[in-house]
């Protein structure tokens, strides 16, 4: 038997699948056969990749493929009515195409437009602030042949809060090339020590010190190293990377150039989530502009000139690909499953070579550190969290959008800026974060308090917490990569548990079980997805004991479990009634 490593390189597989999907509107059996032959793989392996990614369809997905998103904020902004309007206007049921194959209508996870909900993608172009009337008009125009691109909305910047110029880090005037100037004076070692001195940490959720990560990569032997910009931004409610990529792509690119210089990497990728495909032309133009100026390619001006290339591959609809090792697998043309942690990416990452993975915002902030200096950066924020952070604020507030705040800012202040009224709960860092009562203990954004990954989603007193948590639960059950038991089965089991609570069948025992089961998932899951999946539920139970006491009523004294007999026999009754008087058809 041949080891898998002898097989042909499959790095271009996702690209090829995209080409087929976009042209033929699905990946047919023939398409699978062709690719299997091209890559010398068995068909089932291609099938395995295709079925992993949400945006690859095995059945035709319509000339116009519509993805409505089922994030909590979308649902709260009236998505159910939008879905009905699409169904009515297109004749397609959700999850299918209409009989003529013109329109395909599908649900998908958050598409990174939470400040503009209800929103959808049509052929990967964004449509925001939808209303049933708008949907009708839109479908009518599409039927008349108006190109989708022409109809798509411009996406506003929605920069809501900018720090005063002396405190702003990211959102301040940007002159392309400005952050690269220091490279003429600094050698890589000095870049590293600047970053280390700044205290900048990663912004993608794990908060690993950036200087240290880059140094670890630099210290690895060999000269084949890679820079990977994580633009997968899949955490529902997060859209700050979208804003950066759209309005400050140069800053992100410059951050990657710094990383390349500091680590010795010669190639970089911006792994762009397919939901942001509409950003691709602008982003490619931005990269091209850097090549034009000689800031990318061979001989990049610096104290010791270097070479660096950037490519922009696309994801294909999988939240878990935001996990760094899953992303590397995805880039390699595999299913986007997180790897077993035998090595850190800086030791063995993409193609088993040392790789720096950072979030979009991290690269942008790193570039700014070089520009404004470590000292000025480190003077901002708190002792443990230096500098600033972008927040994506959405949900029940008047001013959703992107806010740059200094670490240490109080949540109450942020809610005021956003004009959030009658706030019941705030979801910090998306579904994998905490669901908290903002009035409880005056929380602020800091290491030991709200270590926020970027999303702040606001729910007012009209909202049903359990429904929100149920939405999160199915998100994880769908988006789990499925490779490890606790996350694949555990999240599924949790959806059932929450259904049980929603039916009013919960008891005090369930409260204890939720804690026990969550602990099991936290201790055993391979990656952060499974470990964090019940975090929101646990924190909500802790912060809203009054609300939950209704769901966890005392255990029945006689030992009767809640069981709805009427519901359990209803299928039988229906069948009996339906078949009354029907004739046998053998």
């Amino acid at each position: 038997m041949k080891p898998a490593t002898d097989l042909p390189d499959r790095r271009t597989l996702l690209n090829d699948l995209w080409a087929i999907q976009l042209e033929k509107r699905h990946i047919s059996d023939q398409g699978i056969k062709t690719l299997a032959a091209r890559y010398q793989l068995s068909e089932v392996e291609i099938e395995g990749v295709v079925s992993f990614y949400h945006f690859f369809h095995r059945q035709p997905a319509g000339q116009y493929t519509i993805y409505v998103n089922n994030s909590v904020t979308a649902m709260h902004s009236g998505m159910p009515a939008i879905i009905s309007a699409f169904e009515e206007a297109t004749g397609a049921r959700i999850g299918q195409t209409d009989p003529t194959g013109t329109f395909g209508l599908y649900e998908t996870s958050c598409i990174g437009l939470s400040d503009l909900e209800p929103a959808c993608l049509i052929n990967f172009q964004p449509f925001t602030h939808l209303t049933p009337q708008k949907v009708k008009a839109l479908v009518w125009q599409l039927r008349r042949g108006v190109p989708v691109e022409q109809l798509a909305n411009p996406i506003p910047q929605h920069l809501r809060y900018q720090l005063p110029p002396d405190r702003a880090v990211l959102l301040r005037p940007f002159v392309p090339g400005e952050t690269l100037k220091p490279l003429l004076q600094l050698d890589p070692e000095e870049v590293l020590s600047t970053l280390e001195a700044s205290g900048l940490r990663g912004m993608g959720g794990a908060f690993f010190p950036v200087g240290k990560k880059w140094r670890l990569c630099r210290e690895q032997p060999g000269n084949e190293k890679y820079i990977l910009c994580n633009a997968d931004e899949g955490e529902p409610g997060t859209f700050k990377d979208r804003m950066l990529l759209q309005y400050l792509p140069g800053l992100v690119i410059e951050g990657m150039i710094h990383a390349a210089y500091a680590t010795g990497a010669a190639e970089g990728w911006i792994y762009l989530r397919a939901e942001y495909r509409w950003l691709l032309p602008e982003l490619e133009a931005a990269v091209a502009a850097y090549y034009d100026r000689g800031w990318l390619g061979a001989q990049i001006p610096a104290k010791s000139p270097f070479r660096f290339d950037i490519h922009i591959p696309l994801g294909a609809g999988a939240y878990v690909c935001g996990e760094e090792t899953a992303m590397m697998n995805s880039l390699e043309g595999l299913r986007g499953e997180p790897r077993v942690r035998t090595y850190f990416p800086v030791e063995r990452g993409y193609r088993q070579k040392p790789t720096v993975v950072n979030n979009v915002e991290t690269f942008a902030a790193a570039a700014r550190v070089l520009e404004i200096g470590a000292e000025r950066f480190a003077a901002l924020g708190t002792p443990q969290m230096k500098g600033t952070r972008l927040l994506s604020i959405a949900g029940d507030c008047e001013r959703p959008g992107v806010y740059e705040i200094e670490w240490g800012t109080r949540l109450a202040e942020v809610l005021d800026w956003a004009v959030a009224k009658s706030t019941l709960a705030v979801q910090i860092s998306g579904p994998s974060g905490q669901c908290i009562d903002p009035n409880y203990g005056d929380p602020c954004f800091d290491w030991d308090d709200l270590r926020c990954g970027g999303a702040v989603t606001i729910f007012n007193t009209q909202r049903d917490l359990l429904q929100i948590l149920r939405n999160f639960s199915s998100f994880f059950a769908e988006e789990s990569c499925g490779v490890c038991t606790p996350c694949r089965a555990g999240n599924f089991i949790f959806t059932r548990k929450l259904d049980k609570l929603a039916k009013g069948l919960g008891r005090a025992d369930d409260y204890v079980e939720i804690q026990n089961w969550s602990n099991i998932m936290r201790q055993t899951s391979r990656c952060g997805l499974g470990r964090a999946a019940t975090h929101a539920l646990l924190t909500a139970m802790e912060h809203f004991p009054g609300y939950f006491s209704w769901y966890f009523s005392p255990n029945g004294a006689a030992g009767a479990q809640p069981f709805d007999l009427e519901a359990a026999v209803s299928d039988y009754r229906e069948t009996v009634n339906k078949t009354l008087g029907t004739t046998k058809t053998n």
Binding site: M1, V340, G482, F492, N519, T524, A560, T575
Partner: protein, 424 residues
């Protein structure tokens, strides 16, 4: 030559090879650690099942994914870790559809073996009852998705001579499963096909015409299997104080086959002793139909498949101080739960629409106010009422039922030992 280094396992310094897989190092130190997906020569390790979770330097880690490093501190045995690992096995049982009595791998199955070993009687999780495929399309194999634990061994290991993968994971999230390549499968040699069947830790890969079954006594988990300490020693059965009042027992068979009741009677002459000790109230054994007094213990065979079962079970809960579920059907539905994957309409039409000989050729599904109504699926007893104890088995052995019962009635309840409750 690997360097011997010293590491700590549960507070004890032991020597292990640097770089060695931690599972092997733990086992080398004579400490039991379960595993399911771990397959020695697959690198990097699969790390899918997570039943080998331990603490490495305080951090929960799947031990098969860690390698020995000097000075590492490993904790394997805490109450919490044991519960967590057992939880993993329970989760796999809840996720799949494991009808062991009908399974070719029974007795040789790693999942089943671990279930016994870790003392899983009932899973704490609700059974998901997802309708899964038994794939008969491959030429040479049958793939039973009900039993697959997605360990990934077959995906990594089974390749044709041309190097093509025969298995792959497909879909993702809760729908993740293993699929087989029908073309590549035909290219496997007989030996490769058999290898696939044998590397599968459960009974998900079967090769047509090749029996997995080995005679009892020769199977992997038969009692002499090395590394499994034999649990022995007579357990003292408590006896009632002389002159104490007789205990009152009720029994019922819900959606079961009466097999557990038959087993109950299987103690032969000892039955006479039993009659000395207990009085039977409502029970098919006495033909008493209604409870006439409060009972100490209710013995339940079978799960609930219709409205009458639910009512009877609830009445038992109300009239008995303690409820003991006997057999797999009571625990989670058992064999009758095989119908849980079929919509009730289809079940009823199959039974009354297509197969009965009715003269007027009308579909008549019996319905009368005196007839119980069918539930949408078969439920385990603890989904309806709180249960106090379960005695696993299909059916459990008579001696064990009585041993548990006597303990429950006259002394402390005790968990059956592994040897006792193996029924594969």
């Amino acid at each position: 030559m690997a360097k011997a280094v010293s590491i700590q396992i549960d507070g004890i310094e032991v020597q292990a090879e640097e770089g060695q897989n931690l599972v092997d190092a733990i086992r080398g130190a004579g400490v039991f650690i379960p595993s399911l997906c771990y397959y020695e020569h697959i690198q990097p390790p699969l790390g899918t099942c997570r039943v080998c979770t331990v603490l490495v330097n305080g951090k929960p880690t799947a031990s098969c994914t860690a390698t020995v490093r000097p000075g590492m501190k490993v904790v394997t045995q805490t109450k919490e870790l044991e519960d967590v690992r057992k939880g993993m096995v329970e989760m796999l049982f809840a996720e799949g559809n494991h009808f062991c009595p009908a399974c070719e791998k029974s007795g040789d199955c790693d999942l089943q073996g671990l279930g016994y070993r870790l003392g899983v009687t009932a899973t704490r999780f609700p059974h998901l009852f997802v309708n899964r495929l038994i794939d008969y399309r491959p030429e040479r194999m049958v793939i039973d998705h009900n039993r697959c634990i997605r360990c990934r061994r077959c995906v990594e290991e089974v390749r044709t001579d041309a190097g093509k993968a025969v298995f792959s994971f497909v879909n993702r999230g809760k729908d993740t499963e293993v699929a087989i390549d029908y073309k590549a499968e035909t290219e496997l040699t007989e030996a490769q096909a058999l290898q696939a069947m044998h590397l599968c830790p459960v009974g998900a890969i079967l090769v047509r015409g090749k029996s997995l079954a080995r005679p009892v006594g020769e199977r992997k988990y038969d009692q002499t299997e090395q590394g499994w300490e034999k649990e022995e020693g007579a357990i003292e059965v408590p006896t009632p104080k002389p002159g104490a009042p007789k205990k009152v027992v009720a029994t019922t068979s819900l959606a079961g086959c009466f097999g557990c009741h038959m087993s109950l009677l299987d103690i032969d002459e000892e039955l006479l002793d039993v009659v000395e000790l207990v009085d039977f109230n409502k029970s098919p054994l006495t033909d008493i139909k209604e409870f006439s007094r409060r009972c100490d213990v209710g013995i339940i065979e079978g799960g609930c498949c219709n409205s009458e079962n639910v009512e009877v079970l609830r009445a038992f809960r109300e009239h008995c101080d303690m409820l003991i579920g006997v057999g797999e059907c009571a625990i989670w539905g058992g064999l009758p739960a095989m119908r849980n994957f079929i919509p009730i309409e289809e079940c009823l039409l199959e039974a009354y629409g297509r197969t009965t000989e009715l003269e007027d050729s009308k579909v008549v599904i019996p319905k009368h106010e005196d007839l119980p109504e069918l539930l949408d699926r078969v439920y385990g007893c603890q989904e309806i009422v709180r249960m106090d104890y379960f005695i696993p088995g299909c059916p459990p052995d008579a001696r064990h039922i009585w041993k548990v019962l006597k303990h429950a009635l006259f002394g402390q309840p005790y968990a059956l030992t592994h040897e006792e409750f193996k029924y594969d």
